[in-house]
Assembly symmetry: C2
Homo-oligomer: 331 residues x 2
């Protein structure tokens, strides 16, 4: 048996291509003193990874060319010389795009696949869910009756934002690309409305979906969608901003023209990432886990099969071709 790894072969110039990655076979690592080795079951693919591939300044260290591509997996401990992790334990760990990873336990979370499905710990009960929870509760702070709009609404973060907003008694309005995603957001996730940004009537469709204006716009995408929503914001509204997927390949695509709205409407915009608020993770994960366990928080997954398909699935994610949380199944 061998390990398989996906390395960052080169930094992208413009859109990511499969040639930016290289797949290699190596020996399965051995646990040193105070370490364990886990066999990954699912690899999480997330938009933030695109930022790590660049050489520019960002909020996290960049990925290293020639190293295993950074990422989080859930898997099972198969060898342990760490006192807190036993063989057979299930863990969420940041060992990257590979089948077998070694860890000293730092940043590792034990998970229970008997409580919610293992893959949910990479989605609604993991980093994306916590990102949704923090942005909505800490920066959005919606009150019952207010209107909460979220972009990438069928995605891992957006789907949680809207469902949490509904549980708070808000009007939840999604923005997503295409009829199928919008139908899912309304019919399956229970949003009040969903605007298809690809339909070409973004301004009019937003006005119709938000008859009382927008109190919270949870922004996952930036660019023209943010610009359009700005014209519908209410006085003293809030914009938690945690993603700018529209600008990864071309920062100019993030240009915002409707800047007057910030002053006229006394808007509070706050850029954030989930690791800014480590003190909130425990509370958020407990609540999210219970909601998924009880069936009150739904989610959908796009699952690619096999590590060799991870680069292609990641490129699709950046183009919005996924439908729900993008995963790669490794076992």
């Amino acid at each position: 048996m061998k390990n398989i790894q996906v390395l960052l072969a080169s930094r992208p110039r413009g859109p990511v291509e499969e040639s930016n990655f290289r797949i290699v076979e190596t020996d399965i690592p051995k646990a040193g003193e105070g370490e364990f080795v886990a066999r990954a079951h699912y690899l999480s693919l997330d938009p933030y990874m695109r930022g790590r591939m660049d050489d520019s300044k960002s909020y996290a260290p960049k990925a290293v060319v020639g190293d295993v591509m950074v990422g989080t997996v859930v898997g099972e401990v198969i060898e342990s010389r760490h006192e807190k992790f036993k063989v057979g334990d299930f863990v969420e760990t940041r060992t990257g795009w590979q089948l077998y990873g070694r860890s000293n336990g730092g940043g590792v979370r034990k998970v229970d696949p008997g409580y919610v499905p293992l893959s949910a710990y990479l989605g609604a009960v993991g980093m994306p869910g916590v990102t949704a929870w923090i942005g909505l509760n800490e920066h959005g702070r919606p009150k019952a009756g207010e209107t909460v709009v979220v972009s990438a609404a069928s995605g891992a973060v957006g789907s949680v934002v809207g469902q949490l907003a509904k549980l708070k008694g808000c009007r939840a309005v999604g923005i997503a690309g295409g009829r199928a995603k919008c139908d899912y957001v309304v019919n399956e996730l229970g949003f009040d409305a969903c605007v298809d940004y690809k339909a070409g009537n973004l301004d009019a469709d937003l006005a119709a979906a938000c008859p009382k204006g927008v109190d919270v716009y949870y922004d996952n995408v930036g660019g023209p969608v943010l610009d359009a929503v700005l014209l519908h914001m209410n006085a003293f509204s809030r914009i938690p901003l945690c993603g700018q997927i529209s600008g990864y390949n071309d920062p100019d695509a993030l240009t915002v023209r409707n800047v007057r709205s910030f002053l006229i409407n006394r808007i509070q915009l706050r850029g954030f990432i989930c690791s800014d608020h480590m003190e909130l993770w425990k509370t958020a994960l407990k609540e999210l886990g219970a909601l998924v366990h009880e069936g009150k928080l739904k989610y959908r997954e796009s699952i690619a099969i096999g590590l060799e398909n991870a680069p292609k699935a990641f490129i699709g994610l950046l183009k919005g071709q996924n439908f729900g949380k993008q995963l790669v199944k490794l076992i």
Copy 2:
């Protein structure tokens, strides 16, 4: 004796012109029951008035074509049938661009020209000073040692922002137009540095003036200056935004391109106007009055003489031709 009034004759299309105003002579008003009449000594000219002249949605009711142009004056009560105001009292009152105004006392503040000069109640110890105080303390929240940058630094708001920042132990950096204003900001007001945005090296000059980056950018202007400062913001920095003078004639001039910085640096931007925080005025005015009284807070005034020169002075203010708080002396 007659009253003189400046009416809003028409709404501007593009830059304000003198023809947008009309000067008329009327009778001096008489106080009804529960009212007083005051003779204005100084009229305050402020950038917000430009917004009131437009027909578009803003944070305040628009000025009415044919009515006295909106504005605040300081003056002396000359007739009173109001139990709380006596003849000889000095007041700050929103009776607009005219020599004699009638008031029922709503929103009127009694002022003491023996404590600080009468005109200061329209500047450092009035709305502009409170705007500076609230934006800095409530939204900027600088800590000692942090770098605070403010645009329109020699103006009524900016000059107070920088001096308050210095009193808090911050590095205060101004942005102003031209060498004379920058010299004044550093040499007279005591800022650590001032960048001349007209000199053509905004990015490099900001980098030199802010060797540790920017923790608070107090934005009075918007547009290309905001865009330039965004590239120098530190992680978890704050942008109180209370003015967009660069975009009054052309909203496209407010376009912001460096939007990535909001996420990368987890920036908090907050649009606000001083009337959003009425609960803070008393505290702010007390502190600002004491600082001016003790000579610890300096200011400069551009004074036009005579109400007939108010339109020209206002047009100059919008072009940055004033130097410090723009007033019109009426007596």
